[in-house]
């Protein structure tokens, strides 16, 4: 018991030290300091990891007091299995991200920036752990804001680049909006119970309002459609090691919040599951459909985060639906799928962001149309990215498949539901989910194929060099975990005390490798072994990188299939010499891809707020008399109110 909590304290201490050290600038040899700071981050991740693993396996609940002045400020932490799981997820990703940063952090342009990177990385990771371990809502909000601030600084890290400031502004506004909704929900709970502690509440007034505001608050931070718009701006703007953490785990903190408050705090209602399931399905489908159109590699991955958050919500929604219908076994399966997918997504998404960061730093380009043929110059990065791509596409025997399999099983168990309409809704969501995973595979064929295969499409891709050892090592950690968690999934589940009749991926993996080996060996000995180098058939014309299939070409059929979702706007301008419009003078035609949510949802809201504020500010004219008049009206209104009501 004592050893447990001391690990937690140790983790906090190491992180804080790592945060402060690079900022002090004690010596001239700052690189050593940064290296030390990254090492501290690794150590603190390891201690958090050990701590959470112990808590998880012991299935205990621990209250860890840190600082309390008996008044409002009460830094007591609470860790049970759910938070231990999320702490483990956070720690694994920050561990690999810190290892990666040894190499990546030194690529940054200014000495001071490198310092800030090392320092803020620690703060960022620590604040996530502490949000998850919070015992009361005030603490939760405090660390939540700390998390928002540190990630906001990271989004603005390369503030000189075009688009970064817009990304920062977007991110800032959305994250503050999320905090606002959370505060509303938290005060709603406080108004009912008189306590800020995060603990079960039996009866609540305004339960629907509280749930909805918490759901919206967490959805904004998690990037659920239609609150997702900040993600594709913020993630590409941040440095790649940070995007890995933002996408891999920061979104999961919001998922944690949602799970914590719906599972343990609020009394559940039946329709919540339906809402969450539908929101998840919509997010998943739209996320992957937008990802297919995207050719900026980091933005593509950001859209996939929206998709995967959707998948996690699908699992969680199914859990709520099944537990409301007393189908406990299926409910547990769905919840396990959601949690396992949380872990898996953290792993493969951080892997993908890290390797994408390697590609970006090796080529200096963000657009996958300018890559190509990198598998020959960057073989390790290519192999790691392929592992990530196969995992995220949900292909056996990797981890992404196992969690999707669990979800499919949970979906297919819906024949036990009594209500026919609920059943049909689940089937419709199932078809959406299947569409999502198939489209994800298509998208990663594009991402991997265009980036790494065939002929280089630009000079910078041709001259790309494999990245340093640390950057590879940082990506190897999640890659190995992707394979291990996939192949040994069943064994790991039974180790944790969860028994199901899922297919044993170990056996499937062995069977597949056996067949691979057999075909290889049999052929080696029987068939012709002659190999000749030739060139690609191009109907007799010489092929170059210009004749290759492009990323936009690749996704074009899908873009056309789903053209109504993308919403293009066409502009045709024609001018004529005469009035009857017969003699054509000049014209222009444009096809714009509409940013549907931005133009139809965000902008109108922003415009109406703007309009309102102009109206309000028109009331101000800097004259004392006017203000006295307002005060007079206000008093009059109060008197009238008192007179009528009382």
């Amino acid at each position: 018991m004592i050893m447990f909590t001391s690990l937690f304290y140790l983790g906090i201490f190491l992180s804080l030290l790592g945060f402060v050290l690079p900022l002090l600038r004690l010596e001239n040899n700052r690189k050593a300091h940064r290296t030390f700071s990254y090492s501290l981050s690794i150590l603190s991740s390891v201690s958090f990891l050990a701590f959470s693993a112990l808590v998880f396996l012991k299935k205990g609940e621990y209250l860890i007091p840190v600082y309390s002045n008996a008044g409002l400020i009460d830094f007591t932490f609470y860790v049970d299995q759910l938070s231990a799981f999320f702490i483990a997820v956070i720690s694994v990703v920050s561990l690999s991200s810190a290892v990666y940063s040894f190499g990546y952090g030194e690529h940054l342009s200014h000495e001071r920036r490198k310092d800030y990177m090392a320092s803020l990385l620690n703060l960022f990771a620590l604040s996530m752990v502490l949000v998850v371990a919070s015992y009361n809502t005030l603490e939760f909000i405090f660390f939540w804001e700390l998390l928002s601030m540190s990630s906001f600084l990271f989004v603005l890290f390369e503030y000189g680049k075009p688009g970064t400031r817009k990304a920062g502004l977007y991110y800032f506004i959305m994250t503050q909006l999320s905090t606002m909704f959370l505060l509303l929900g938290f005060f709603g709970i406080y108004a009912n119970t008189g306590s800020f502690n995060i603990q079960p509440v039996t009866s609540l007034q305004n339960l629907t309002l509280i749930f909805l505001s918490l759901f919206i608050g967490f959805s904004i931070k998690a990037g659920v459609v239609p609150f997702h718009k900040w993600l594709p701006y913020a993630h590409p703007a941040a440095p790649s090691n940070i995007s890995a953490m933002m996408s891999g785990v920061m979104l999961k903190v919001a998922i944690y919040g949602l799970m914590r408050f719906t599972l343990t705090v609020l009394p559940q209602e039946r329709w919540w599951g339906v809402l969450i399931l539908v929101a998840g399905t919509v997010s998943a489908i739209l996320g992957v459909i937008y990802a297919l159109k995207e050719h900026d590699i980091k933005r593509l991955l950001a859209y996939h985060s929206i998709e995967n958050i959707g998948i996690i919500l699908i699992g969680f929604g199914l859990y709520l639906i099944y537990s409301a219908n007393d189908l406990n076994e299926l409910a547990i399966l769905a919840l396990a799928a959601a949690l396992f997918h949380t872990l898996n997504h953290a792993l493969f998404k951080s892997l993908l962001f890290l390797t994408a960061g390697s590609v970006v730093s090796a080529t200096g380009k963000h657009n996958i149309e300018e890559y190509g043929g990198l598998i020959k110059t960057m073989p390790y990065t290519a192999a790691l990215f392929l592992i990530g791509a196969v995992s995220i596409s949900g292909l056996p025997p990797f981890n992404g498949f196992v969690s999707e399999l669990m979800l499919f099983q949970a979906f297919l168990g819906s024949y036990l539901i009594q209500d026919p309409l609920l059943k049909s809704l689940v089937v419709l969501c199932l078809s959406g989910f299947a569409l999502t995973s198939a489209l994800a595979a298509a998208c990663f064929v594009k991402a991997f194929g265009i980036t790494f295969l065939a002929v280089p499409r630009s000079e910078s891709a041709r001259d790309a060099k494999e990245v340093g050892k640390c950057m590879i090592a940082g990506a190897v950690i999640p890659a190995v975990l992707c394979i291990v968690l996939g192949v040994f999934s069943l064994q790991i589940f039974s180790l944790m005390g969860y028994r199901t009749d899922l297919p044993d991926m170990l056996v499937i993996g062995i069977i597949m490798s056996l067949f691979y080996a057999i075909t290889y060996l049999v052929l080696k000995n029987t068939a012709a072994n002659k190999v000749r180098a030739g060139e690609t058939w191009g109907c007799g014309t010489p092929l170059s990188s210009r004749t290759e299939y492009t990323a936009s070409g690749f996704s074009q059929p899908i873009v056309r299939f789903f053209k109504d979702i993308y919403q293009t706007r066409e502009v045709n301008e024609r001018r004529f010499y005469d009035k009857q419009n017969t003699l054509f003078k000049e014209g222009a035609g444009e096809i714009h891809l509409m940013k549907f949510f931005e133009e139809k949802l965000y902008d109108p809201v922003a415009r109406s707020i703007n309009y309102l504020s102009i109206k309000v500010s028109a009331l101000e004219n800097w004259s004392l008399d006017t203000y006295v008049l307002y005060a007079f009206l206000a008093v009059l209104a109060t008197v009238a109110y008192v007179g009528w009501i009382a």
């Binding site: 026919p420 309409l421 049909s424 809704l425 419709l428 109504d564």
Partner: protein, 229 residues
């Protein structure tokens, strides 16, 4: 052997086939196949009535089957076929408002929606799930017919949509309300008149409502449209 065949299974099968013909009518562009789909649908409807007659022995159902065969399988398609030959158009390619794929997705939603609303109202009326299914499919078919009438342009297609609507109403009435036979006869007469009128409109004036409207506009405002040419 006959006793061993479960009537509900056959009814379900016929109902699904009717919905499929409906879906084909929604998506098909070829007028000839549209017509034959309608004919097939009416034939299936006749079989449905026959099967129900075999089960319940209600004489009205037999009359209905005969009437359906005479009017909807033979007479009305014949008139439409004549009309089609006359106007010499074989395809209705363009769609208004919704494309066929979307109208199918909407139909799926409609099926669930009509199930939902029926489950609110009809719960006490019928415990027989099969009748329920029939009613839901009937309403959905009628709505699909409505979608055809507003999403297609050619008069022939619109007419077929209207006819499909009536088929849906008939299915609904077979399963739920037991429409009096006389009313059904009147409806059929109505339909025949409608088809004849449509034929006169189409052959006599034009092949699509839009062109007809354009003509109407021209008659109404000769100055605006007639002036330029």
């Amino acid at each position: 052997m006959i006793d061993a065949i479960p009537i509900p299974g056959i009814i379900q099968a016929i109902l699904v086939l009717i919905m499929i013909t409906g879906a084909l009518i929604v998506t098909r562009k070829d007028l000839l196949s549209l017509l034959s789909m309608y004919r097939l649908q009416s034939l299936l409807l006749m079989f449905l009535a026959l099967v129900l007659y075999a089960e319940s022995g209600n004489y009205v159902l037999l009359q209905m089957a005969v009437l359906t065969l005479a009017s909807k399988v033979l007479l009305i398609p014949y008139i439409i076929r004549r009309m089609q030959k006359e106007i010499n158009i074989s395809k209705d390619i363009s769609f208004h408002y919704i494309s066929p794929a979307y109208s199918l997705f909407i139909t799926v939603a409609l099926i669930f929606f009509s199930y939902y609303s029926l489950s609110k109202t009809l719960n006490e009326l019928t415990d027989n799930k099969l009748f329920y299914l029939g009613a839901v499919f009937g309403i959905s078919l009628a709505l699909m017919g409505m979608m055809v009438t507003f999403s297609r342009k050619k008069i022939v297609t619109k007419t077929i949509g209207y006819l499909m609507m009536e088929n849906g109403a008939l299915i609904f009435s077979i399963f739920i309300t037991e429409l009096p036979f006389l009313i059904e006869v009147l409806i059929i007469i109505d339909l025949v008149i409608l088809v004849l009128l449509a034929a006169i409109l189409a052959v006599g004036m034009d092949s699509s409502i839009e062109e007809f409207q354009a003509k109407l506009e021209r008659i109404k405002h000769p100055a605006r449209n007639g002036g330029t040419h």
